[in-house]
């Protein structure tokens, strides 16, 4: 993995060099608070748990993560730095993973900054820390999957807006596949196993299990495989762009 660390470091610092990082963190924290307290009626739930907090993450990530990921490759291609980056003696896979992990790490920082929520529930009562920890784990893994998709779509175009829209659409499909309304309408026409099968591809199905405190290996494998598949696809997309 020669070259991983310098690329990772440069990419991570690049977020903080531009207003992107600060705007993202502020909006992320504000949106989290807004969803939990206003939309989710946190106080009315009378529960010292972060269930409501985690409930909204698939929807928040739908717009916020593509915003973080859209510049990963589109920007490099637009400014021509990809020609520099991809002619260094570093494997393309290393470069793709280094950039992805930098962005993921950045999202991890934003997620950690939601720690006042943990303090709040501890102040209000005595919550079960298990689901809180697994909730953060699930949320972080899910964020990684969104990001891998965004990274891949970012490699498809020089235009960040197109990259953003593409990844929002793909992520939306993956969220909606596990949506109750869709399952109900599928069940009305097809046998139940079809809707079960379809929902297995959804972020929400796997995320819901983890955030309830059940860490099943299959759910972890789901997210990790989405990440790996999308990043391999990312490499393929970059290679094919170079060839044409």
């Amino acid at each position: 993995m020669n070259g991983f660390y310098p690329i990772f470091k440069r990419e991570l610092l690049a977020y903080f060099r531009s207003p992107v990082a600060y705007v993202f963190i502020i909006i992320f924290l504000a949106a989290n608070a807004g969803c939990t307290f206003l939309l989710g009626n946190f106080y009315n739930s009378q529960q010292a748990s972060l269930e409501i907090f985690f409930l909204f993450h698939p929807w928040l990530y739908l717009f916020l993560i593509p915003a973080v990921g859209m510049r990963l490759w589109a920007e490099e291609r637009r400014t021509g730095t990809s020609e520099l980056l991809l002619t260094f003696p570093v494997r393309m896979t290393t470069t793709v993973f280094a950039k992805f992990f930098a962005a993921w790490f950045f999202i991890g920082i934003a997620l950690l900054l939601t720690f006042p929520m943990i303090l709040t529930v501890h102040y209000l009562g005595s919550p079960d820390n298990g689901p809180i920890i697994t909730g953060y784990l699930g949320s972080f893994l899910m964020a990684g999957s969104y990001l891998a998709i965004a990274s891949c779509t970012s490699a498809m175009t020089k235009n960040q807006v197109i990259s953003f829209i593409l990844s929002v659409v793909i992520c939306l499909v993956l969220v909606l596949l596990g949506w109750g309304v869709l399952s109900d309408s599928l069940n009305a026409v097809f046998p139940v196993w079809i809707s079960d099968f379809v929902s297995q591809f959804s972020f929400t199905t796997h995320y819901d299990a983890i955030r309830r405190g059940v860490v099943d290996l299959r759910d972890l494998i789901y997210f990790i495989s989405i990440i790996i598949i999308m990043l391999i696809l990312n490499v393929v997309v970059l290679e094919s762009h170079k060839a044409s």
Binding site: N2, G3, Y5, P6, I7, K9, R10, A14, R17, S18, T79, G80, T81, E83, L84, L86, T87, F88, P89, V90, R91, K242, A243, S244
Partner: protein, 330 residues
């Protein structure tokens, strides 16, 4: 897995540092590079000439393993671009056409980043970065953001990045593009000063640059090699090779034209426009492009023709370039 950064500096495998065999690149139905073959020795500076879109950059991108060739291959320091792209890249310092770099970084920081990628650390990294900063005269902007730099400094920042690992092969895509005459001169002197122990492939469409820095030049047009040789060999193909321009004071143009035409070593004579009324200027083309300066001088002297200017042309690269790339004579 092998450690790329442990590769020792290359002990010459052959005197050819760059060997290109029938390299081609097609984009859909368009042939950008068509069966290009050439070899460059150590210590040579090969000028890569051609009109825009002739395939210069595409060839360079294939040699740096940025894009794969459609057919053919090339070896850099004995490493194949198809089989050992990482080793090839480790041997090359590459300056892409638009001299890209990361705008949000400072010059010194950017060079540190590239040095880290190239596998250096600690003292060695600092030493190398300070050497290239000195070579490219970037000291004054070391702590400046790249986005605030002028075109000349950006170009040099990207050039500095190509020199960090002291590569045996340098591939420079239009290194003086967009620079002012002083900066061009600086970059050319830099290239000349480092060319001795290296092999440099440099693309340009500035013809004076070829004469200034290149030991050999290759002209490509529509993806094909149409001319190859030292700058002087290329110039010898010029119509103007060894032609002599003479300005004579107070002579009768018709008589002079007649006299010159009667000389046996002169192939043809052309009367050139002249701003000064007391002068008559003519260009004499020699038989078989041979050198006629001495014979002509003796003739003029014996006839006591008062000459104001006497100018021998070695040939014009721009004319050869035009002829080879358009198939038309100027």
């Amino acid at each position: 897995m092998y450690n790329l950064h442990n590769f020792k500096p290359i002990v010459i495998y052959s005197i050819f540092m760059i060997r290109v065999h029938a390299l081609s690149k097609n984009f859909n139905n368009f042939t950008a590079v068509d069966q290009v073959s050439f070899e460059v020795k150590r210590g040579e500076v090969l000028g890569f000439l051609g009109p825009n879109g002739a395939g210069k950059s595409t060839t360079m991108k294939m040699l740096t393993c940025f894009i794969p060739p459609s057919s053919g291959t090339a070896e850099i320091c004995g490493f194949s671009i198809l089989d050992n792209p990482l080793q090839v890249r480790a041997q090359i310092g590459y300056l892409p056409e638009s001299a890209p770099s990361y705008d949000e970084m400072m010059v010194g920081e950017f060079l540190n980043f590239v040095a880290e990628i190239r596998g250096y650390g600690g003292k060695e990294l600092r030493r190398r970065v300070s050497i290239v900063i000195e070579m490219t005269a970037l000291g004054e902007v070391k702590n400046q953001m790249i986005e605030t730099l002028s075109k000349g400094f950006r170009q040099r920042t990207c050039l500095a990045q190509a020199l960090l690992h002291d590569p045996p092969v340098l591939i420079l895509d239009e290194p003086t593009d967009g620079l002012d005459p002083n900066q061009k001169h600086e970059v050319r002197s830099l290239i000349s000063s480092i060319s001795e122990e290296r092999t440099i492939l440099i693309s340009t469409h500035i013809l004076e640059e070829v004469e200034a820095v290149c030991t050999r030049a290759m002209i490509i047009s529509a993806g094909k090699v149409v001319g190859y040789g030292t700058p002087d060999e290329l110039k010898s193909q010029s119509l103007y090779r060894n032609s002599v321009k003479v300005s004579v004071n107070g002579a009768d143009p018709k008589q002079l034209l007649k006299d010159f035409n009667e000389l046996d070593f002169v192939y043809s004579v052309e009367r050139l426009p002249e701003k000064r009324k007391d002068l008559v200027t003519m260009r004499l083309y020699p038989q078989n492009k041979e050198s006629i300066a001495l014979k002509l001088e003796q003739y003029l002297f014996s006839q006591q023709i008062p000459i104001e200017h006497f100018n021998v042309s070695l040939g014009r690269l721009d004319e050869v370039f035009r002829e080879l790339t358009t198939g038309k004579q100027s």
